[in-house]
């Protein structure tokens, strides 16, 4: 690049007009080539501890789903009878409300009444539908139902919105995305399938109520706890993890080991992996990027 070698040769300009620039071929590459390129402009430096703390929400939800699975198994084995199930339901409902009451400062009496009304409707509907659920999958073998349920749960876990970005106020959804809807529906279908294998319709009602309570409201409750105090969130998550690990251990050894490995993978290995691959991050920006509008477009 000897641009200034001869005095007669004019300076090269980064322009397209005026034909070929005298003294320079069309494939001439100036020193200014790529000088407007910006590399890794918006890279966030990640901290191992912070990523691990964030991943706790995932492990927490995994434990919740594991607990649901344990309850399902015990009910199917008839170890848990309907009365204890209803007791669990009531406990969950009351404790969930307590958490909401304690963490939400905006909760008014009116809203509480609204909630109670909704839950009453919900429970009545479930009570009426329970006999139908009971006979829903009578013609299908238990094995296929179990395997489909497992697949549905995996889909649910895969598409679940762990960051709770879609929630803004208790109970109200701000444009839930397609994946959120699919995830929620997968979990509900899984609960219906499991419920349909039970012997009595009271059992069906109890287990349906339990699963729906967990799948619909557990994300909300954990979100409220996390918003209220992060320390409490961590504590609560560890408690859930220990309880679920213990229950899974009592249920099946191999499952326990798989679950433990999964939790370790999610909370320790994945964050470490993320930090490690950060160094391969290579982001290029320059004048060729599409300009971003600095105002909101409201269609």
């Amino acid at each position: 690049m000897n641009a200034n070698s001869s005095p007669t040769r004019p300076r090269w300009k980064k322009v397209a007009y005026g034909g070929m620039q005298p003294g320079y071929d069309d494939n001439y590459t100036d020193e200014s080539f790529l000088e407007d390129m910006v590399m890794n402009a918006n890279v966030v430096k990640r901290d191992m501890i912070k990523v691990m703390r964030d991943s706790i929400s995932i492990s927490q939800y995994l434990s919740i789903v594991a607990l649901v699975g344990v309850v399902w198994t015990y009910t199917l084995k008839s170890t848990l009878d309907e009365n204890s199930l209803l007791l669990i339901d009531a406990t969950l409902l009351v404790s969930g409300f307590l958490v909401l009451l304690l963490t939400e400062e905006m909760l008014s009496l009116n809203l509480l009444f609204h909630y109670f009304l909704n839950i009453a409707f919900f429970m009545t509907g479930l009570y009426v539908l329970a006999p139908i659920y009971k006979t829903l999958t009578r013609s299908i073998s238990s094995d296929s139902i179990c395997s489909v349920t497992v697949v549905l749960l995996i889909v649910h876990l895969f598409l679940h919105d762990y960051s709770r970005s879609a929630v803004n106020a208790p109970g109200t959804w701000k444009n839930p995305t397609l994946t959120n809807c699919i995830s929620l529906n997968a979990s509900i279908v899984a609960s219906v399938f499991i419920a349909s294998r039970l012997p009595s319709w009271r059992n069906v009602f109890a287990i349906m109520l339990f699963s729906l309570l967990v799948f619909l409201f557990a994300p909300l409750v954990t979100y409220c706890i996390r918003k209220y105090s992060f320390r409490l969130h961590i504590l609560f998550s560890f408690m859930l993890m220990v309880v679920s690990l213990a229950l899974v251990y009592r249920l099946h050894r191999l499952l326990f080991i798989m679950f433990l490995v999964l939790l370790v993978f999610v909370t320790i290995l994945c964050p470490y992996w993320l930090i490690r691959i950060q160094e391969y991050k290579f982001e290029i920006n320059g004048p060729w990027d599409e300009a971003k509008l600095c105002f909101d477009i409201t269609d």
Partner: protein, 449 residues
Amino acid sequence: MADWRRHRILMVSDFFYPNFGGVESHIYYLSQCLLELGHKVVVMTHAYANRSGVRYMTGGLKVYYIPWKPFLMQNTLPTFYGTLPIIRNILIREKISLVHGHQAFSTLCHEALMHARTMGYKVVFTDHSLYGFADIGSIHMNKVLQFTLADVSQAICVSHTSKENTVLRSSLPPAKVFVIPNAVDTAMFTPAPERLKSDEIVIVVISRLVYRKGADLLVEVIPEVCRLFPQVRFIVGGDGPKRVRLEEMREKHSLQDRVEMLGAVPHARVRSVLISGHIFLNSSLTEAFCIAILEAASCGLLTVSTRVGGVPEVLPDDMVVLAEPDPVDMVRAIKKAIALLPRIDPQEMHARMKKLYDWRDVARRTEIVYDRALKCSNQNLLDRLSRYLSCGSWAGKLFCLVMIIDFLFWCLLKLLQPAADIEEVPDMVQFHHQDEEILMDDSQHQSSR
């Protein structure tokens, strides 16, 4: 003209007439001027509606509309090998020496370049667009481009920004990438015979009304300019999904009498719209070159444009007012342009444009690239495979596989239909040669309709 100097070029792109846009007119004008220089040019594109088969255009430009239907945005379905037989046929029939592909979006272009390389032809590729690196679509597109360009003889970009972009996307050595801008047919885009009245200022916008062309910026800018300058009127030509938003804006601010919406403007009528205005407004969010600015400047309009992509390179600073793509700065730029307006002479501007841009100059510069491409050494399959292999740990192996299958398919075709069985087209160039001047004059008239 000595025969050894003549190239026999096949231009390939999914985009050609009757479709309209920057790439289409680039191919058309470049082909016309190359014909004028005595080369043989054949264009290949896919069938448009019932336009299928061989057609002749002005100046004896032969166009093959191969019978492949487009499936998305005028692109043919990528089949990798489906087009090899017909491309081989055309290459042999027309005794082509060099294949020139246009536009990175065009699947037909990628396939043709791949087959041409397999058959040992020299290939040149022109990139007409800019691409980011961040979203998932661009990442895949860039990989495809890298595959095509891994083995291309020479590449051409339409602006220096586009060259930087292409070099980054395809990891070609910069010395292999030439910058040859578009041009404008100054004979077609002439200013209005007499100067427009200056008691009212007309700002013209002609673009597709889509997000990438900055239609949302217009929605913010137009009411503000109308509020600041009571003597300003807007003419908006073009159609698209964002047209509704512009019409809503017009209703909301009661600007029906000051903002005229023309809808889609056929290219033949663009000049008549342009010459009714004083200022041309371009609000694109991304642009590799922007021929619209050239057309406006050639009609003697002062241009206000967003400073994106290759736009700052297109015109000298005193012929264009540039602004950042945000409404406040664009209003400032329009204010500046209105102040500059009394000093602008459309006829003088047109005369300057004539000197700055000429398709003949583009053709001569492209000719140099062709010469260089033909001087590149021939390579056997193994050399080329090693080049593909270096494209990436997984992609490289995949590319190699694709090329090996292409090679085998070609060998099979050679067995099934030997090259000797394919009839060669007699050259009509000698006939054109004698009255070339007359023909070209004729073509100028026809193209300026």
